[in-house]
Symmetry: D2
Subunit: 344 residues, 4 copies
Amino acid sequence: MKGFGSDNHSGVHPQLLSAMLAANIDHAPSYGSDPWTEKSLLAFENLFGKKVPVYFVYNGTAANVLSVRTLIKPWQSIICSDLAHLNVDECGAPEFFSGGKLLPLPSKNGKLQLSDLKNCLIRRGDQHFSQAKAISLTQPTELGTTYTTDEIMEITKWAHSEGLLVHIDGARIANAIVSLKTSFKAHLTDTGVDLISFGGTKNGLMFGEAVVFLNSALAQDFVFVRKQSAQLPSKTRFISAPFTTYIETGLWKEIADYTLNLTKNLAELVRDIPGVTITQPVQSNAVFARIPQKWVKPLREKYFFYVWDEKTFECRWMISFDTNQQEIEGFAQALRSLSSESNF
Amino acid sequence: MKGFGSDNHSGVHPQLLSAMLAANIDHAPSYGSDPWTEKSLLAFENLFGKKVPVYFVYNGTAANVLSVRTLIKPWQSIICSDLAHLNVDECGAPEFFSGGKLLPLPSKNGKLQLSDLKNCLIRRGDQHFSQAKAISLTQPTELGTTYTTDEIMEITKWAHSEGLLVHIDGARIANAIVSLKTSFKAHLTDTGVDLISFGGTKNGLMFGEAVVFLNSALAQDFVFVRKQSAQLPSKTRFISAPFTTYIETGLWKEIADYTLNLTKNLAELVRDIPGVTITQPVQSNAVFARIPQKWVKPLREKYFFYVWDEKTFECRWMISFDTNQQEIEGFAQALRSLSSESNF
Amino acid sequence: MKGFGSDNHSGVHPQLLSAMLAANIDHAPSYGSDPWTEKSLLAFENLFGKKVPVYFVYNGTAANVLSVRTLIKPWQSIICSDLAHLNVDECGAPEFFSGGKLLPLPSKNGKLQLSDLKNCLIRRGDQHFSQAKAISLTQPTELGTTYTTDEIMEITKWAHSEGLLVHIDGARIANAIVSLKTSFKAHLTDTGVDLISFGGTKNGLMFGEAVVFLNSALAQDFVFVRKQSAQLPSKTRFISAPFTTYIETGLWKEIADYTLNLTKNLAELVRDIPGVTITQPVQSNAVFARIPQKWVKPLREKYFFYVWDEKTFECRWMISFDTNQQEIEGFAQALRSLSSESNF
Amino acid sequence: MKGFGSDNHSGVHPQLLSAMLAANIDHAPSYGSDPWTEKSLLAFENLFGKKVPVYFVYNGTAANVLSVRTLIKPWQSIICSDLAHLNVDECGAPEFFSGGKLLPLPSKNGKLQLSDLKNCLIRRGDQHFSQAKAISLTQPTELGTTYTTDEIMEITKWAHSEGLLVHIDGARIANAIVSLKTSFKAHLTDTGVDLISFGGTKNGLMFGEAVVFLNSALAQDFVFVRKQSAQLPSKTRFISAPFTTYIETGLWKEIADYTLNLTKNLAELVRDIPGVTITQPVQSNAVFARIPQKWVKPLREKYFFYVWDEKTFECRWMISFDTNQQEIEGFAQALRSLSSESNF
């Protein structure tokens, strides 16, 4: 049964599975010194337009918290939005791994505002106050919205002028690149971003994310950080091989294009249904909408999804690589039925 | 190219790969609430002869350090052998995750001795001294040797009488069970072991290990420990499904039997070669042997392996599920050639 | 030179210094097993109306962060006000020591509101979300205001009904007790508070704070927590002896009475000066007031104080045990002069 | 009652107490920006023969663990002797604060041997192995012995050639300097030591130790490390003022001279008593000796001391600044009586 719960409810994309199967031959050195992993570096180099240290870890939490461990010392803070996965969905892992502090700021449609960033930079050099040292931007945000390339650039420039580093939580980064009709190079390399959690699992991989060091100086001790954090995969080839395929064949673009279109379709199909209020701009692979509380149960019996806010009944409908047009039409139809049964 | 470097140089066993492929259908709830994961609990229940909380994590380091986090508080110690993977191969991860201390003791053929355990239990209740609270036994040990069921029982009984908990680092636990001609139930459940890092990756799985709580009270907060430690797999089904197959079809036994026989074969084939000294009893899937330093390079050009001790040139030759008789014969032949070219 | 910077800018109260000198005889067992420390337990017992485990540490940061280490596990959170010393003045120490998370909430005159507490208790049992387990109330607050006994009681009752523990950051707890005309027993023991950081340094001690376990079960492992946190004083008698004097002679009441009166005097003297706006109720030993920015420099040249908010020029004027009437009059006079020179 | 338990069983030296009293005037900026603390920097500069960053903390545990936090990253190790206070008397604090690993080596009369140091430097750059980055030498050692200046020099030179930093746990460093008839400059600055825990409490101070950065580059972030570690004293003047007196008046030398002579006296008085075996060279302010088990109880009733090794009944008799000749004669007499009552 398929639903709109999360893009990690889907399985593995057939092309990526094929890449894994193809890597299952003979013996290979473990812990990332295999030829598949070496080859994947080239794929990232092409994508980002320059040589970049890339390290694979098992999941998105790991990519994020190892990034935090890399960016801040324990007496420093990393700024993120109050909605950031880092802040509300990692069970305190960033603090646990880094020993440091999160500095959550209010967000607008999930996005940090430069003015808020500027205001929070207080008490520099005051030994009593955890010192802000980095910013983490989720792109696309937890609400499915995207920072424009200009916004990324502006934040990064300001951050660097203040001695702050910039991290992108890119669990669904491909979706943002496609939605913004930009490239990894233009959007991330050229804007001066320092470090990226580059997601795979939510775009059809089985497991594994890449930590991409656009600022290569930060990579210096990362192999030790990764190993000590229990994130060094022994049979790395089964992560790197599908990643190479994902990048080199353009599958990242194909999937993100496909889900963006479906997502926009879904939004259009439901936008005018009485009782449904779309709450966020649709800029990646999720529709956020408020519906009447009593619709939730019958709707979830047909198509699973999450209630994002248990007070307003804002819901999240997420599109996966394997969602199809028929399913979103069925879902819209189910909404329409509930609406017509109600007093709208 | 195949060699004797490690049992994680091999890929994925075909039967286990099939189980993964079979799980790649439709959508499934993520984070372990899928039906494959539920089913795997039954497999573990049958194996251990009782209901046991089981949690999957990504790798052996994680299974070990999350076990340590579970067993000791930061002001406590866990006793292990000086050779333990925990002590010398985890880059300080146990200390990092637990905040506590390792208490490494000298070992005999890789095994902790009860008399040494008794001697190290000093300064109980002294606030200046990190308090021993648990023991970790590697089974089979890093030297390929095994504790007998009686030894496990004796250590566990004593440990419990002193208020200590017992952990098994079972990265290759199936190999020990087979070598000792015992069962998981008799060897681990009935001896009173509290917690097991139950390995899969070194026996043909792609990735994933299971933390098995024979002492179920210890599992109370483990879901939070796991998530905060960045070890909660989103698409858990791809770990649990092959684990179920591994256990239910008896593949664990089949592989361990096969590698044990090959390993013994290899030992017999090289034991009498002048220049080769087998240094450890052969009780699982590794042969340890000293060879002349000058043999190392030419031998490794043909068959990769690790020099275990860079001072004595004790080497480790490890047998994987996909090693075959021809390869061990080829290796023995290569040794024999080197020997005959030398002055033995 | 004396000013209004902080109640830790003053030295040691003569009576407390005498108590330290009197303890400087002969040899005494170190690390808290001396007779002075034993005697101090009785003083606390009398104050709180029941036997309470009490442990001395060096400073307020330590009392707070060791309390946090005691109250939450790393995957849990402690709720505090956004202005709490824990949140903004400990350089990330609570996160560092506990491995857990702070959950800062907006405050009203420095005080947490029960309705906000109730609203923040979300996602109970969700493994992705750090679980709230405790609340820390600063009493008096960082803004010099106090929770009433009823408010403490109400919060504590609700907290316990939800499985949360309650901590008081009582760096200046005596000032609150006196201001509220209550007793330690009525205000803290009888309201069900679990754990207190009981301050001394800001009321005339040289150094040292007491961690008081009204909930004695929480004290179980605290000697190890304290030692491992580098907070076990070797010559404890020089902390415990003055603490006993502070409590048994009623000096705590005398000092807090004296400073409360002076503080109210100061507030009255300046309240009507044009250009001065008192911003917080005066309920302990601090006056908070906004003044024109240009007054700050000339005023601080005469009497040092801190600008609390660098944007609104809200200032904090703090009264110490050794502040005198003449000084507050001089300060009020200085303000009056600045006012008359301005356009008010 | 006085005994030979520890040099922290004694109280405060009268001259140092006077210095504290003299600092108890007026208000002073807190957290170390007071004039007494500023002045103390000059005292350290004179002692070490160059400007050195110096930071005060509360106790020896803190000086040590904050040094460790400074010297190693979590994925690194610090080498120390198996008897080091760091290893066996800090309740796991070094691991807790640093997140890193201790690498304890066997010692000879409490001293690390260069050959052992060289042997333990293995697996450099291997991501699986916690990387040695520093050495901690206790001077004088936990057994009252001293490294010569040449030994310190030799170890430091080698350490630096290997990229390792050198820390001195100098809880009783003055005793070593006096015993070796050297100076702080010759023994520590000129030998290239990087970082020192400079003890005060065990030489007559009430509390407080100094972390002295001979390698000033290491001090860069130390104010934040100290604050976050809960070791920033608010009324720092009461630590820095007596420290200045201790150094500037030569009291450090006077006390250490005095206790060294008494200690040697004690050793001579008991050396030939049948049943007493002095076990360590007498090179600071402690005598280590084995005595028959049955003597312990009656002897400790008169003069408290610690049994160092509960298996061999090696005891430690420690001389304080306030021990007198009469007391050591009384103690020797008590031993002599026990001896004559026994079968020697």
